[in-house]
């Protein structure tokens, strides 16, 4: 019997942790109970990207798009949508704007409208644990082409035409990297996939691997054909168990089909891939440190040149690319470099996946053509700031990046523009801040991360990050001096010039960019001892205005340390010696009787 309905359940980590698996099992059980198990195919797919509203369940061909689903909804989904073909309005996604009564279409969800999914083309559509579904979506046809129709030079040419630049952060042209390795004569060569992804707030590589593992495997085999390597390794952090599991399944299936291993598709070409689990050190995302870690050494960077393309893993020529870069390659081969080059800006082609998080309404994975403005991402796709607050800045590029302020919201985003405004693409984490965020506090967070993650091999990074952190820490305690600012700039610039690897060279970016765009906020912390956002606890002081307090007791009940006292219907008082400055009283007061100073 033919299947008439498909239920796609999001199986990304975010939805999975929100009981995605229970929903999946409940749906199976209910389908059985209603006697429709044969009519419906229930598929667990990769991330839909719309994590804010997860877990998401999509029913086709009805185009039902259910959000924030709980396992208990399974019964209704089966009995209503599958058996009767009716949409369960209660959990159906409700567009915020848009005419009512308009035919509902998933394509009309604002979140998806400005997006263009190339890297995430299969995520949320196929079952990542079933190689047949990948093959059905033209999977492994690029491999076919590379094995039987194209020469290695043709592959390089196609990549060159596409203009693809490495998505790991720095944006080095991919074709050049491959070409360096290809040009080395004979001998053992390797292909390595960097799936370390250690940026705070970034998770697109994990989602790609979870939702579409075969696209990365296929690209790695193609890289092997192109440069003449027969062995590949995926370096992935052990903190990504679901991605690891899906990769293992994918590799097993590819081997069974003869798409991986010896004599691929009878062509005589051999290539196999191995997983290498990393322990989750930020520095291991840096390519030379990553290679050292694969070799079993401590993950520390070495000076470049020689570049890994010429002397990489075990001192052999190695192509090393990030997950997102690889995921672009099969489709470039299938559709051609010219097709890819139509998308994006002059110097940055294609799309970029961002992990949009922070004080944003629709957080999630967003894939947009290069050249989309930050305003479109934050306000059109992201739905703007949560709770009607005011936009303050976006932090991009993780600890290596910087902040982008309102005046740059209309800058088309690409590799070069971001650098020109003092930030960078990085891996693509995008953290939105509102007026409640203190810029000094956020910068301190990034530096704290860098202090902990610096491998310590070179002094500029080891000492520099620590010194910068100490200054910031003093500012948040109201103990800074205005001369410190210049010292921080000097340290930051020294780190940029003298650090051994890209991580040290960029670790001062958050400091330098916030000093540039928010000098006034730094000055307030240092000279006035004030934190306008109310985040730096040592500078904040909560007080109850006697005239305004009606004695409703809400603040006293909200206070976690019981430091507010007073009789009912009479003004209350905060015991400043016990106050931990959590702000719960301030948030809870409906009469504006509590002031922050």
């Amino acid at each position: 019997m033919a299947v008439k309905n498909y239920i796609l359940v999001c199986g990304g980590t975010a939805c999975e942790s929100a009981k995605g698996d229970d929903i999946y099992k409940a749906l199976l059980k209910e389908a059985e109970a209603h006697g429709v198990a044969d009519d419906v195919q229930i598929v667990k797919t990769g991330c839909f990207g719309f994590c804010e509203k997860g877990p998401i369940v999509k029913v086709l061909p009805e185009q039902a798009f259910y959000v924030e689903v709980v396992p208990e909804d399974a019964k209704e989904i089966i009995s209503e949508t599958i058996v009767k073909g009716r949409i369960v309005e209660r959990i159906q996604y409700q567009p915020e704007k848009g005419a009512k009564g308009e035919a509902f279409d998933i394509e009309n969800i604002e979140f998806y409208q400005k997006q263009y999914r190339i890297v995430l083309r299969n995520c949320g559509l196929i079952n990542p644990e079933n190689i047949d579904e990948y093959i059905a979506r033209d999977g492994y046809s690029a491999l076919e082409k590379c094995l039987f129709e194209m020469k290695p030079d043709d592959i390089i040419e196609e990549l060159k035409k596409s203009g693809l630049r490495g998505r790991g952060g720095a944006g080095f042209p991919t074709w050049m990297k491959w070409n360096f390795t290809k040009q080395v004569d004979g001998g053992q060569k390797y292909v390595v996939c960097n799936a370390d992804e250690g940026d705070p707030g970034a998770y697109m590589d994990r989602s790609t691997l979870e939702g579409d593992p075969h696209s990365v495997l296929e690209a790695m085999i193609i890289a092997g054909i192109c440069v003449g390597a027969d062995y590949g390794a995926i370096y992935i952090r052990a903190e990504y168990p679901l991605a690891i599991e899906r990769l293992e399944t994918a590799m097993k299936q590819a081997r069974e089909y003869g798409l991986l291993g010896n004599d691929i598709l009878g062509s005589g070409f051999n290539f196999d891939i191995e997983l290498r689990l990393g322990a989750g050190a930020f520095v291991c995302g840096e390519e030379t440190a990553l290679l050292a870690s694969i070799e079993g050494k401590r993950g520390m960077p070495i000076p470049k040149p020689p570049f890994p393309a010429v002397k990489g893993l075990f001192r052999k020529p190695t192509v090393i690319n990030n997950v997102e870069t690889f995921a672009n390659i099969p489709i470039i081969i299938t559709k051609g470099g010219d097709w890819f080059a139509q998308i994006g800006t002059e110097k940055s082609k294609g799309t970029k996946v961002f992990a949009l998080t922070g004080k944003i309404k629709n957080s999630g994975l967003v894939e947009v053509p290069m050249g989309t403005t930050l305003r479109e991402i934050v306000f059109d796709i992201g739905g703007g700031i949560r709770g009607g607050k005011k936009f303050k800045a976006v932090q991009t590029g993780g600890p290596s990046g910087g902040v982008i302020t309102e005046e740059f919201l209309d800058t088309p985003i690409d590799f070069d523009n971001l650098v020109s405004i003092g930030s960078m693409m990085g891996s693509g984490g995008m953290i939105v801040m509102d007026e409640d965020d203190c810029i000094v506090d956020v910068t301190k967070f990034y530096l704290e991360f860098c202090v902990e993650e610096s491998c310590g091999k070179c002094a500029p990074c080891r000492i520099g990050t620590k010194k910068l952190y100490e200054y910031l820490d003093r500012f948040t305690k109201g103990k800074g001096q205005i001369e410190d600012i210049q010292k921080m700039k000097d340290i930051g610039n020294a780190m940029k010039k003298a650090s051994l690897c890209g991580l040290g060279q960029t670790a001062a970016n958050p400091v330098l960019s916030t000093l540039r765009y928010f000098p006034e906020e730094y000055r307030q912390h240092i000279e006035d001892g004030k934190c306008i956002a109310g985040k730096c606890k040592d500078l904040v002081h909560y007080e109850i205005v006697t005239e305004k307090c009606i004695g409703c007791t809400v603040c006293a009940r909200k206070c976690p340390v019981n430091c507010i006292e007073g009789e009912r219907k009479k003004p209350h008082v905060i015991d400043q010696t016990k106050c931990i400055k959590c702000g719960a009283c301030y948030e809870g007061c409906k009469f504006d009787a509590i002031i922050v100073s």
Partner: protein
């Protein structure tokens, strides 16, 4: 499954593709909408639906979407089915059993000829809107 050759991979892809295409509704212009209200189900709409799916598969039709909907208001002629084919008027068929469903696919969808004795009047426009 044993290791594949190029031909086997291509064969697998094309067979899997049609399976996937039925899942995808984008760009498909021919719609078969089956009334699956209680009345429709009781009158055998499920059998009709299955028959549509089988006929589409048997004829290897690519751009047809089969959807379910609630009662169209023509309970007296259940199972009712609305068929939309580009370039043809939207037609509502009544009393569609498995055999009629097969006929609709073969005549109406493939040969663009309506299946005469099952056409129903459309309910008044305002009811639909």
């Amino acid at each position: 499954m044993a290791k594949m050759t190029l031909e086997e991979l291509r064969k697998l892809r094309s067979s899997q593709k049609s399976e996937m295409e039925r899942r995808d509704v984008d760009g498909k212009e021919t719609h078969i909408i089956v009334g699956m209200g209680t009345c429709g189900i009781a009158a055998g709409a499920k059998m009709a639906l299955d028959s549509f799916l089988d006929a589409i598969k048997a004829n290897d039709l690519k751009d047809v979407v089969v959807k379910q909907t609630g009662c169209m208001g023509l309970c007296y002629s259940e199972p009712t089915v609305e068929v939309k084919v580009p370039g043809m008027p939207d037609v509502i068929y009544g009393n569609v059993d498995a055999a009629v469903a097969k006929e609709i696919v073969e005549k109406h969808i493939i040969h663009k000829k309506m299946v005469e004795n099952h056409i129903q009047d459309k309910p008044a426009g305002d009811i639909i809107k």
